[in-house]
Symmetry: D2
């Protein structure tokens, strides 16, 4: 049973006394706005910005991301501001450009069991953020992680982002219990994504607090300078002021637990 | 849509700066052990003890509770120690004895939509702890609460105890998002039950911390002086030492948020 | 494990070469319309009519059934037409009147684990239709049945009516696999309810056919002389002409399998 | 909303009076056994054989398929026997070899939202069997199909294979209602897979019958000459004799509905 996950003995990407906060817009939209967001994050001590160039969307007719153009914007914003970038990969063919530009490569929920992609990512030297599939058990998720480890890539971060249930008041159900379960099995860091799990901006702060309290090693937060203008996921995206409040609340908890936001 | 829930303007059973901690064994087993537990809880500043006299069990062949004898034990332990008691009701016919002995009457998950019972409990003057059904949406749960309010009983506490999902590493999936969702709708207090939701003693402390951080008004915890001897739910029950650690961790958070454990 | 279910060796309520078809409106509404429906069913060879007097409804503000008045209407329609009646019980206190009037007493999905009610119904001499709870596993359902058998009532019929899942195009998800699973465990008859599981009148005929083909011992169908005027469940109720088409389709299958619609 | 699915007006791959029966082992194991199976199927009037060369497996340590070698075996068995082959693709890079060898390319449940793969398959001239993701709604599934249609490939077959629910007696829950729902929306054929949905060989025949009765356009069945020696999915695989009984039962229904097994 996922032996390499169980016996993981590398230096985890996130240290015991650290909380990794990744934030940013759902998608790369344009260079100016992304630069504004990058600067805002850096001013607030956040060093990793998420932003999608390729967006897996339920419908082929909704915004699919700026694709290669989006990657180039990410590259320029990174060069200009010094921020590190996290972005989702959707196909093996993109690996070379992601290796060149992206600091943490995200495997999204829909590709958690795209084993061909996992095997290829297991062969590169770049941190991988592996989101839990919304229809996947913790058991299946840890095995997906084992695919990465088994190929030799041990720079892995797991991300709980909610599962499909019968409850309809949230987009998915954040399975917060997965965090302590995984911590009982492995030293691989696990972070939570309150934005995608809930799909509701009003729940981001309380769920982020729950995530820190439950022992997660980090948070993935959707933030946009103008959430109502976001081209995707606007209902779950918070604005800069709300993000500052979130950061204040998170820091109350990291102070309590002697952790540092990185 | 659950108008009385939405426009609730009574004094909630749990104040804004309070955290209600209810703890105790799954079931009343014998007077001596229950007295030991009651004293332990009181010494640690806990004033409400849970213990079931009538136990709804999946199988008719597993321990069904001591029933009337159990209620009498509860009564004597209460008289001896001064602790308040919380116990689950399973039929309308029990209302008079519960009114006489029990301080908070619990409606369990399996009876959340036993509307005949809810209507009858809506007519009495006693706090009701309404657990969420494991197959019920938040919407259905709030409507079940509306049945109580509509009959005139406004001393209500909601309790999130997990829902059925495909995940098998926990007994149920704690839907922690339900807490901030309900807080956005009503002032009725909502507490969480990490014990029944997870079914795993190793998850109780982290989930309790998550519950306090997410804004729950209280916790329902299964504790037993000898968990391995408990006649029911032994896998999810913590011992006295673990409970003290839980209390310490909870108080770090209530101190942070200027709340008091009651 | 549910030994009495497994080793059931009584004459089942529905014979091997029979298909029990129960049909009728969701609720008793008025005597004239119910009489029309009863006559229609009898003319079409259907001998059991369902109709609810007490309706468990999510909201206390929607139609709760005509209650005692509804039972009296059922009684009179039964006397006038000779039809047998199936109706849902919601509380122990109703047992005497149900024993006097109702031919098959239904325990609804919300009360599947109302063990106090099950124990009481296990002591009477009247067939019980036990619906599966929408949040209950087959395992839990069979144990609920064991409560009835264990008290001595072996006139039991199980009814699959769908479970809660993430799918939203149907009200619940008909778990048709439960039929052959149960047939592999016990001789207790199991019927399916396409109306409540799907919540969609356009799915009733295909699901009824699937039910017969999978080996179910019967069907529970909502039919109303004027579905759009039904006081509850109008979206899942079919009209008389559609019912005749359903009956024709069902008989093609029962003829194929040498069964008789009773 | 999936306009091209809704307004589909091409000649469907499966005609109105046809039932497509695809059968075969989970995985290509060796040429001799596969040849035996191919001949058995052809002798029984089955023209499409399924067999996986690349197997997406939860664990990297279980049999992953014979991969390229498996494809070559498929090619030779096809040449020798004349059977048509259905096999699952797991990466874009495999498209050229699948185009050359495979008659119907299967997209598995885990890749249902691998949009990069769908877009690429939408550009080729080869029938695609699109399985429903076990965590996907019908709505999401139809949109995945829209990705194929939108790129120009209209030779599509949908395959219901069960969804994740809380029920544990089956591997997944066959959502049989999806068949009539989809038939109400589009003329694209939809088949069911009783083997993967249930994970239990004893349920295959009743579920296959239910599938035909509900109106499915075909069936996907796992069959192996020695099920207990199968390298994967042995619990859900039936042997040749059981397959013959299945075929007999299916033909009773196709005769009734004037359909022909193809």
């Amino acid at each position: 049973m996922y032996e390499k996950v169980k016996n993981y003995n590398f230096k985890p990407f996130i240290g015991d006394n650290e909380l990794l906060l990744i934030a940013g817009p759902c998608a790369v939209e344009d260079e100016d706005n992304l630069t504004i967001t990058a600067k805002f994050l850096l001013e607030n001590g956040i060093h990793y910005m998420r932003a999608g160039a390729y967006k897996p969307r339920t419908s082929p007719y909704t915004f699919q991301g700026l694709e290669e153009k989006g990657l180039n914007i990410l590259k320029r914003v990174k060069e200009k501001t010094g921020i590190k970038v996290v972005s989702e990969i959707v196909d093996i063919s993109q690996i070379p450009s992601y290796e060149a530009i992206v600091d943490i490569i995200q495997v999204g929920a829909r590709n958690m069991q795209n084993f061909a992609l996992l095997k290829a990512l297991g062969k590169i030297n770049k941190p991988i953020l592996l989101k839990r599939g919304f229809g996947s058990t913790i058991h299946e998720w840890l095995y997906a992680c084992e695919y990465l480890l088994n190929e030799g890539n041990h720079q892995v971060i797991l991300c709980e982002r909610g599962i499909k249930t019968f409850e309809t008041m949230t987009r998915n159900t954040l399975d917060i219990s997965s965090v302590p379960i995984i911590k009982g099995i492995t030293k691989i860091p696990v972070i939570i994504d309150p934005s995608h799990s809930s799909g509701r901006s009003d729940l981001i702060i309380p769920l982020a607090k729950a995530g820190v309290a439950v022992g997660a090693n980090g948070l993935l937060i959707e933030v946009h300078n103008h959430p109502h203008l976001a081209l995707s996921d606007k209902d779950e995206t918070i604005d800069f002021d709300t993000f500052k409040e979130l950061l204040k609340q998170v820091k109350m908890l990291t102070d309590l637990y002697n952790k540092e936001v990185i």
